[in-house]
């Protein structure tokens, strides 16, 4: 059975290949962004409801017919759908993300405000998840089959915990009962603890399962056996060899982890009242705020494309034999 990877099939590297690789990546990235913009445009326009109403203060507004007409004209909504679509594509291509219907400010500006807090949250969660997964994998691998079973069980259970439930329980225990951390998130270190933990725990469970498999395999590999035969300590083998093996599949999963963290951020940012992309995504979909939804989607798609390219590049640099299945 082959192991399909998260990156497209690769070919043998050679002279001139690098440029081709770069161009291929770039083309693929542009295609993804175009497709996402197109899907969001038509997807949201198919949702029942008049976008002009979303502009005029949302559903149930008693905006007059003239006001709605004015809004339609201002945002070009009175033109045929395809004219609007190409207009939208042209604006996006020229870097104009438009103006949010519900927030009444430029989408680029809104994203500029919301991206840093979400990246901070997601980045810290990813780090913590990595640290927890590695620690658990190392500790339980070191303590024999029973330790391994317990570690594996912990990972499987934590990977099965719904975010919103975990968040509520953490608030109840650590804010209300113990008073250790504030329940409302700010960028102050204490305020980040609970949201980061909520995002990190289930992810750590996932990464842990992947890392354990790799690590246990590496522990039994010929290399490890010969290292032991050379008289290297068990800890030495673990740190110098197996740990590195355990980390590799985790790195390959980073593109996927990013997407899952963004989805998780919707719930976590809402519960901990943290400003960020996830929370505004939920509000934007509810308010039928097409420019903002498009902006958030394009950002996450672009982030995905970049992360995938980087992890591909990292693997190419690390392993010149690329291409062998």
């Amino acid at each position: 059975m082959s192991t399909p990877t998260a990156t497209p099939p690769r070919r043998r590297a050679g002279p001139g290949r690098s440029l081709k690789w770069l161009l291929g990546r770039l083309g693929g990235g542009i295609f993804v962004l175009w497709a996402v913009a197109t899907a969001i445009f038509f997807g949201i326009r198919m949702i029942p409801g008049d976008p002009a109403e979303a502009i005029m203060g949302g559903p149930g507004s008693q905006a007059s017919a003239e006001a709605l007409a004015a809004a339609r004209a201002e945002y070009g909504l009175d033109q045929p759908l395809f004219v609007q679509y190409f207009g939208q594509l042209w604006r996006l291509a020229t870097g104009d993300l438009g103006t949010s219907y519900s927030l009444k400010s430029p989408v680029a500006e809104v994203l500029g405000e919301l991206i840093p807090p979400t990246l901070l949250l997601a980045g810290l969660a990813l780090l913590l998840a990595w640290a927890m997964a590695l620690a658990l994998a190392v500790l339980s691998t070191r303590s024999g089959p029973w330790g391994s079973a317990i570690g594996s069980g912990l990972e499987i259970v934590s990977a099965a915990v719904p975010h919103f439930w975990l968040a509520s329980v953490l608030i109840m225990v650590f804010s209300t009962s113990l008073g250790w951390f504030p329940p409302v998130s700010t960028n102050a270190p204490a305020g980040l603890v609970l949201p980061v933990a909520t995002l990190a725990l289930p992810l750590a469970g996932f990464l842990g399962q992947v890392m354990r498999d790799s690590m246990e395999g590496a522990q039994r590999s010929p290399y490890a056996l010969s290292a032991r035969a050379r008289g290297e300590s068990e800890t030495g083998v673990l740190l110098r060899h197996s740990l590195r093996h355990a980390a590799l599949p985790g790195i390959a999963l980073s593109g996927w982890a990013l997407g899952s963290l963004l989805s998780g951020a919707v719930v976590v940012e809402t519960i901990f009242a943290r400003p960020g992309l996830g929370r505004s995504l939920l509000q934007a979909v509810t308010a039928r705020d097409i420019p903002l939804v498009t902006g958030v989607a394009l950002f996450s798609a672009a982030a995905y494309v970049v992360v995938m390219a980087l992890s591909d590049l990292a693997e190419r640099v690390a392993d010149p034999r690329i291409g062998t299945p």
């Binding site: 507004s61 006001a67 709605l68 804010s175 809402t270 009242a273 400003p275």
Partner: protein, 554 residues
């Protein structure tokens, strides 16, 4: 736990027209008097109040644009109104000094108070008020609540700096009540000339605080207006607010909001859930402010425009089949009192008729049998001509709190015992409106806040079944009764207070006896706050709290 009555404060009116000493509440600031019972000690100046709102963050801080309750809550801190209500619910002039109406009721003259400035330095005068009304009536503003409130205005003229003359299309005796709502608050005409985006970011008013900055999704930062002039002078009170600043945060999750209050991260929360209120009653560090909203009661409306509720007997049967009181008792922990009126209990003209709303499954069964719904299908639901007695009930998850949704589920269960099926559909606000506009509902619960009994015309006049261009209509029970229309028209235009009361009573009797609605309770408006926060309780005419008087104990 304080059951909130607006703060009683002693004021020395500046206007000669007012009595020498007057008890005020409303947005009225004041020094503590011994009888207010809430606050002990000397007010401390300084400190920042962190307020956590559970409502959706407004997209615009100018309540002229759109016009919903979350906007009213925050705008009450930096904008003031022409009129307001005192502690006994009496309408009193605020930024206005006085107002008179011609004998034919078609010309209203409003005197504007002197010596008040907006925080941008612009002076308040008749032209400024005119500019505000024009702003509200301009379609480009997209005002909905304020626009409706001023709908009877035909033309206006600033006769002199202090006098504004309004010509009305027809007499409107609720105009002064409308003037007391934050959606018709007065803003600086200079600021209104800016682009809408700018004005939404930082509206400029005359209030005790002003908008310093707004970081979306995080907080609106308000700071004290050091040049504040209290429209109605007050003995012994500092000229300006005690608090340095207010941080207005948005925390959508009820449990997080309450946890933040418990941990001391915020000092006041709104949309407090019944179970949190009940739990905090045992906690001396947390106090409770109950400020029911004016206007309509929270009620379920029965769509009389289509089967099966086009039959009054089926409407009556439905009302007798559901058990509301048991649910209110267990779900609201004593924080909500059952209503039997279309109007909020804070409306002086509210009329209740408890006897119509008994839970009586036997009576419901008989009414349904007589109406032809006597057969039952395999699941125990009644059928008539092969159609099941099934009611569609779209519920907005953003407008109905969890306890209310649970109450609806309990009604669903009790109605089933009488063979009535209720299909609850939980929807986001856009989809919910979509169902209403498509007439895709038999039952619906929609809040409506307005000052005064004039809300009855909005909810039950046949004119309100005509949809706005967006599809919106307020008469969700779709009553079309010429005799009711006549009552409401007359009640809204008479100059005789006694006649007004009598006509509105008749109108309420008519909709209650027609079983067009099932009243539940007042529109809930509960706040919890830290006991460190002193002198909380003053509210505007729409029951949004104000913090001119409030101070933070060290």
């Amino acid at each position: 736990m304080t059951h909130a009555r607006p703060l009683a404060t002693k004021l020395i009116p500046a206007a000669a027209a007012l009595a020498a000493a007057m008890v005020l509440a409303g947005c009225t600031p004041g020094t503590t008097t011994p009888d207010d019972g809430g606050a002990a000690g000397t007010p401390v100046t300084g400190g920042t109040l962190v307020y956590a709102s559970g409502d959706a963050e407004p997209s615009c801080l100018d309540p002229h644009v759109g016009g919903n309750y979350p906007q009213a809550l925050v705008a009450s801190q930096y904008l003031e109104t022409l009129y307001t209500k005192d502690s006994v619910g009496k309408l009193i002039p605020w930024l206005a000094e006085d107002s008179t109406v011609s004998d034919d009721g078609l010309t209203r003259t409003v005197k504007i108070r002197d010596g008040i400035k907006f925080t941008d330095g612009t002076a308040l005068d008749a032209a400024a008020v005119k500019a505000n009304f024009e702003h509200l009536l301009d379609p480009a503003t997209a005002s909905s609540t304020g626009y409706l409130a001023l709908g009877k205005i035909d033309s206006m003229k600033a006769v002199d700096a202090r006098t504004l003359e309004l010509k009305l299309k027809s007499p409107d005796n609720s105009l002064l009540e409308s003037f007391s709502m934050p959606w018709v608050a007065i803003e600086s005409p200079t600021a209104l000339k800016r682009s809408q985006a700018e004005n939404c970011e930082s509206p400029v008013g005359t209030g005790p605080f002003k908008v310093a900055s707004w970081k979306k999704q995080e907080a609106v930062n308000l700071v004290r207006n050091d040049a504040y002039v209290l429209p109605v002078e007050q003995a012994g009170h500092a000229r300006t607010a005690h608090l340095d600043a207010i941080t207005w945060r948005f925390i959508p999750e009820a449990a997080t909001r309450y946890a933040a209050l418990q941990s001391g991260e915020v000092q006041m929360i709104d949309n407090a859930q019944p179970d949190a209120i009940a739990t905090s009653a045992k906690n001396p560090a947390i106090k409770h402010l109950d400020a029911p909203r004016p206007g309509a009661s929270n009620r379920i409306e029965l769509n009389s425009s289509k089967a099966p509720f086009n039959d009054a007997n089926v409407r009556e049967a439905f009302i007798h089949s559901v058990n509301v009181n048991a649910g209110i008792d267990s779900l609201f922990f004593g924080t909500a009192k059952r209503s039997y009126s279309p109007l909020s209990s804070v409306e002086p003209l509210a009329y209740s008729e408890e006897s119509l709303f008994s839970n009586d499954p036997a009576k419901a069964g008989k009414l349904l049998d007589d109406a032809g719904w006597s057969q039952r299908d395999a699941q125990g639901y009644r059928v008539k001509d092969g159609t099941r007695l099934s009611l569609t009930f779209p519920v907005s998850t953003s407008q109905s709190i969890p306890a209310e949704q649970s109450l609806f589920e309990q009604m669903q269960a009790t109605a089933k015992d009488s063979g009535i099926e209720i299909k609850i559909k939980l929807l986001d606000l856009s989809s919910w409106y979509g169902e209403l506009f498509a007439n895709n509902y038999n039952l619906v619960s929609a809040p409506y806040t307005k000052v005064g009994p004039g809300v009855l015309s909005i909810l039950f006049h046949s004119d309100s079944t005509i949809p706005a261009p967006s599809g919106y209509f307020a008469n969700l029970s779709q009553v079309k009764d010429p005799s009711l229309d006549a009552l409401l028209n007359k009640a809204g235009s008479t100059k005789d207070e006694a006649e007004r009361k009598d006509l509105y009573t008749q109108a309420q009797k008519k909709v209650l006896e027609g079983y067009y609605l099932l009243p539940l309770y007042n529109q809930q408006n509960h706040f919890l706050y830290s006991e460190k926060l002193k002198n909380v309780g003053a509210t505007t005419a729409v029951a949004s709290p104000t913090f001119f008087d409030t101070w933070l104990a060290k």
